[in-house]
């Protein structure tokens, strides 16, 4: 069963055409880089998989099912913007996620908070951007979600927090059972994390494949390939 399957997906908004016929098959158990410049349609693609947007035409399956309220319980969506209820503390946020998702591991989440040096009892509204970025990650990675969808997890975040985020993804990734899709336009820092990559440009997939095979075939880094194809 594929983690994500898209067949001829188009997404039109009021004035723009965000996705122009995307066909995609993502195998389960991989970390996939969804690479493309700003406005390429990365966020739209992830939102469609998370059930936060509906394709104008085309079919989308997540873990073999139509996207629905039920698949929302199997996927973890990490949006680019801050989406916390700011009156909560990290501890309360963990408890709230736990009440919403049956696959949340609270003790794992508390460990991860400590590991990422986040005070569980400090109001979220008083956290820095980097700290919030780390908290987003804690909430997603302490679930046993089969599919994790991360939208620009490094954007606008300080370098030490970026490093912490990449290390956490690498070490907490549930190899074999979990699929993580990370959208980013900052390829340089994150490219070692990807097993497969999908290059998206102007709403269309321009190149996809195994990261190491692309490197071997072209003797180029993903970042250099990105500059070439996007």
């Amino acid at each position: 069963m594929l983690a994500i399957e898209m067949a001829n997906v188009h997404k039109r908004y009021y004035r723009s055409h965000a996705l122009r016929g995307v066909n995609l098959q993502m195998e389960p158990g991989k970390i996939v880089g969804l690479l493309g410049p700003n406005g390429a349609g990365k966020s739209t693609l992830l939102k469609i998989c998370a059930g936060l947007a509906h394709p104008t035409t085309g079919r989308v399956h997540v873990l073999g099912r139509d996207v629905s309220t039920a698949t929302k319980g199997l996927t973890a969506f990490v949006p680019e913007n801050d989406t916390f209820y700011s009156w909560m503390t990290p501890r309360q946020a963990v408890a709230f996620e736990n009440s919403m998702f049956s696959d949340m591991d609270v003790s794992d989440a508390m460990d991860l908070l400590r590991e990422l040096r986040l005070d569980p009892d400090n109001k979220i509204s008083s956290l820095s951007k980097g700290q919030r970025g780390r908290l987003k990650l804690v909430l997603a990675m302490s679930r046993r979600a089969r599919v994790v969808l991360m939208d620009e997890p490094l954007a606008g975040i300080d370098p030490p927090s970026r490093a912490a985020i990449l290390e956490t993804i690498a070490s907490r990734y549930r190899a074999g059972e979990q699929t993580i899709i990370i959208s980013t336009h900052e390829v340089l820092e994150s490219e070692k994390l990807f097993e497969d990559v999908v290059f998206l440009s102007d709403g269309q997939i321009v190149l996809s494949g195994n990261a190491d095979e692309l490197r071997a075939n072209r003797s180029k880094s993903l970042n250099e390939i990105f500059a070439e194809v996007c």
Binding site: E167, A175, D212
Partner: protein, 153 residues
């Protein structure tokens, strides 16, 4: 094990090379335990599946062996270090020669340049200075990331 990654070369190949260099110079001795897949992935900020693939390839080459539930170890074979060393050396020499040939040097010129270079480059650092460096390290590869110092135990 410390790997300065060059992102234009397959990551799993570089992990393999890193282990092989360490075996070649003796940093990793037969029977030593490699970092767990998860730990190496975290330290190198890379994909656990990629590390797993590198370890599997090394196992296929007979350099490491996986003991179920205990981890991955350098194969306890007396001849291993020597074999790996000659393999790493052969690769380095081949790659150097290929590069020089692409620059259109004749065999005599290459030998001359090497002996001239040996006079110019001080050898004070000893052979271990190049420990873990990949062949193409330092070429135009953009920014390379420092792997954290990996233990061997």
């Amino acid at each position: 094990m410390q790997i300065n990654f060059d992102e234009s070369i397959p990551i799993y190949v570089q992990i393999m090379q890193g282990v092989m260099w360490d075996v070649a110079v003796g940093t990793l001795a037969p029977g030593d335990k490699l970092l767990s897949v998860r730990d190496l992935a975290r330290d190198a900020r890379t994909n656990p599946n990629t590390v797993q693939r590198a370890y599997m390839e090394l196992e296929r080459m007979g350099i490491v062996e996986t003991q179920r539930g205990q981890g991955t170890f350098i194969k306890a074979s007396p001849r291993l270090a020597k074999e790996v060393r000659s393999e790493v050396t052969a690769t380095a020499v081949r790659s150097f020669i290929n590069e020089m040939r692409r620059l259109r040097y004749s065999n005599e010129e290459i030998v001359g340049l090497v002996s001239q270079g040996l006079d110019e480059v001080p050898a004070a650092d000893g052979p271990s200075a190049a420990n873990g460096q990949t062949v193409a390290d330092g070429l135009a590869s953009g920014q390379s990331t420092e792997g954290t110092n990996g233990g061997v135990h």
